[in-house]
């Protein structure tokens, strides 16, 4: 792996990781191929642009309506679920959520957990939390399983192992499961199926996420293709669903356009193989299904985002991943570069509310503001607009009372002073001319190293004659020499 660009930043930062990822041609090929294919599939699935735009508008209205009465809907959801026999828990922090989940497992004296794909459980780092308490928590989505087996984190919210190719998976299975090395994808999936089926059968508790929680009926809706979600929510005696408080919608009918937007935006499928609507635990005369169903509602910064009417729009997100699939930055640097649970454009606007801007100071500026993410978002989150807002919050001084958590992370007095100087310079003709006079004569004195710019460029040196000068010459000579272009 040749390192074309000298890395001067700390390794453990967005910039450092980005430089490394950019130099990894295998990684870039894996992402480019996958994102191109996902973009094509989405475009095919929305072949009628009018239908697409109408549906996005409707999706946006449904989510905005749900958020405009969020506390009432959460209470309604709780009431209905409780009536259906589901136990509802609330957690302000990921620590609290982990304690709740652990408590449920403890009460059952459980030691084995299988988990369907859940990004909220990634927020909680549930696997590690439970492992420290001697509870095995196994990922059952094929992609998540691969990633967990390799001790990694997902690099995409829908396709967790998209950074790996089949040869890398083959090697991993060979090393970790002791199976013969095979590049045949079907065979690799068969190996995963066999290994995990045993786990589904033995598990004491199944954990899942939630795509939509329906307040009207007290129903948890999950979409998936593999069947591992159904397994995790049906086979073990206890099912624990974990979700963010923003996932609630008002009516059952609201999920009709939302599910369509979700599966078409994420995978280009008219619908996923399974749409799983869970409204309660096993009834006394039923023969299968968990005897207990729990729902953990997690805040983790969501109420903070909610407090700001503009930032509240981040809670529209239905986690389809279309923004990252279409992001020129994400496609080049991959999901791990972001260093947090949610990568890509959506990660850049939701993460600051969870962990604070101090932890992700480069997130708001890791964008070219090309606008692709906002254009494809199925619920019309104005991502570029929110990124600009975060850039402002990022450099606010303490006196300006930044509204986002740890706002002002990039505030620098020096930078402020320089800009003030620059503004003064450019608004006063006298000072400007003085500056020009100096710059054209002492240009050689400009420093050779001007920060990140000189990593990839030569340092700028002011020309010996200013544009003003040249223009004056030009205009003065026009009459005698004829127009030069």
């Amino acid at each position: 792996m040749s390192q074309r660009i000298p890395v001067t930043e700390l390794e453990n930062s967005f910039r450092g990781r980005a430089s490394e990822a950019l130099a990894d041609s295998q990684l870039r090929t894996n992402f480019r191929t996958a994102m191109d294919s996902l973009m094509r599939k989405r475009a095919d699935a929305f072949s009628d642009p009018d239908e697409r735009e109408d549906l996005r508008e409707l999706g946006n209205h449904i989510k905005a309506r749900a958020l405009s009465k969020l506390p009432d809907l959460l209470e309604q959801l709780e009431t209905r679920l409780t009536k259906n026999g589901v136990k509802v828990h609330w957690a302000e922090t990921t620590e609290e959520a982990n304690q709740i989940v652990h408590g449920i497992i403890e009460a059952k004296k459980g030691s084995q957990v299988v988990k369907g794909k859940s990004m909220v459980s990634e927020e909680m780092e549930m696997n590690d939390y439970l492992a420290e308490r001697h509870i095995e928590c196994l990922e059952s989505d094929m992609g998540e399983y691969i990633v967990q087996l390799d001790g990694e984190k997902p690099s995409h919210i829908i396709m967790p192992a998209i950074h790996k190719n089949r040869h890398q998976v083959a090697r991993l299975f060979h090393d970790k499961l002791g199976v013969e090395e095979t590049d045949d994808v079907n065979e690799l999936i068969r190996i995963g199926r066999r290994t995990l089926r045993k786990k589904f059968m033995e598990a004491d508790v199944g954990v899942s996420g939630v795509n939509f929680a329906i307040a009207e009926t007290g129903t948890l809706l999950l979409v998936e293709n593999e069947g591992n979600g159904r397994m995790s929510t049906t086979a073990p005696p206890v099912h624990v669903a974990v979700t963010g408080i923003e996932k609630v919608v008002e009516n059952l009918r609201d999920v009709v356009p939302l599910v369509s937007l979700l599966t078409r935006s994420a995978l280009g499928q008219p619908i996923t193989t399974y749409v799983n609507l869970i409204s309660g635990p096993r009834k006394p005369d039923e023969l299968d299904g968990p005897e207990e169903v729990h729902l953990v509602l997690l805040d983790n910064g969501r109420t903070r985002a909610f407090a700001d009417a503009q930032m509240r729009q981040t809670l529209n997100c239905i986690r389809c991943g279309a923004c990252m699939n279409h992001c020129p930055v994400y496609t080049r640097v991959g999901g791990h570069t972001y260093g947090e649970v949610y990568p890509g454009p959506i990660g850049k606007i939701v993460t600051p509310h969870m962990v604070g801007l101090k932890q992700v100071p480069d997130h708001p500026s890791a964008s070219s503001l090309c606008g692709a993410c906002g254009e494809v978002c199925p619920v019309k989150i104005p991502i570029p607009e929110l990124l600009q807002r975060l850039r402002q919050e990022n450099v606010k001084s303490p006196k300006e009372h930044p509204k986002v958590k740890d706002g002002g992370a990039k505030y620098s007095r020096t930078e402020r002073a320089v800009w003030r100087l620059w503004a003064g310079l450019n608004t006063s003709p006298t000072i400007y001319r003085l500056f020009l006079w100096g710059a054209t004569r002492f240009g050689k004195l400009t420093p050779k190293n001007v920060g990140p710019w000189t990593q990839n460029h030569s340092a700028p040196v002011p020309a010996r004659r200013s544009l003003h000068d040249l223009a004056r010459d030009h205009l003065g000579s026009q009459g005698t020499k004829g127009g030069r272009s």
Partner: protein, 223 residues
């Protein structure tokens, strides 16, 4: 309960002085693009399901038990899971008895705990009913209950589903309204739109991830 109150209080404080947004749900947006004539309805469901490797057969209503037998024969399977408490379960049992079919009929008549190992590893196939189909997305609607439990459509490698032609609706919204789902949902309502699949390795599509490797839909024409 303090976490609950803190969360709700914070949300309420943020909403102070605002009005809830109006409900402007527009049902034409989710119905009009997805309407079909009776013939094209079946055609569309078939086409979409076949595109995701579902085997679809259309046959006169009374012939399905024989078709099930033939499907098992051709795959050389040795047993099939069925729901003895349902109408179609009884029909299947009658056919089996009358025709001396060689495959074992396995009844799902005990709680899963009583025979988990067998259910997970030894059942080859299952036959379940559906409460309808959806043309727009090529989906089956399953309404598991005490007679036809949830795992029946999930564990066996081959799932055979019976779908009445007359119960295929245009779109999800239509079937939801027609069957008045919001008045009462079962423990677990399912939309199934093909055999289990994954594209998690290099986006290469592989069938039989964790659920059935094969889905066969028998569309039953009305008598």
């Amino acid at each position: 309960m303090s976490a609950r109150n803190n969360i709700l209080n914070r949300l309420r404080t943020s909403l102070a002085g605002t009005e809830p947004r109006p409900d402007d749900f527009n049902e034409t947006l989710v119905t009009e693009p997805w309407q079909y004539t009776p013939d094209s309805r079946i055609q569309r469901l078939r086409a979409l399901m076949e595109a995701v490797q579902t085997e679809v057969h259309q046959l006169p209503g009374e012939q399905w038990p024989a078709k099930v037998q033939a499907l098992l024969e051709s795959r050389n399977l040795s047993n099939v899971l069925y729901a003895p408490g349902t109408d179609h379960g009884q029909k299947l049992a009658e056919h089996w008895q009358a025709h001396g079919a060689r495959q074992d009929l396995v009844a799902y008549d005990r709680p899963v705990e009583a025979w988990k190992e067998e259910l997970f590893w030894e059942v080859d196939a299952s036959v379940t009913g559906t409460v309808g189909g959806i043309a727009a997305t090529g989906s089956l609607v399953l309404w598991p209950d005490r007679h036809e439990p949830r795992l029946m459509s999930l564990l066996p490698p081959l799932h055979i589903a019976l779908l009445k032609a007359s119960e295929i609706e245009d779109n999800l919204y239509a079937i939801m309204q027609k069957q008045n789902w919001s008045a009462g949902l079962p423990t677990n309502l399912l939309l199934v739109s093909g055999p289990s699949k994954t594209a998690d390795i290099e986006q290469v599509l592989a069938y039989g991830a964790h659920g059935p490797k094969e889905l066969v839909v028998l569309i039953l024409e009305d008598q």
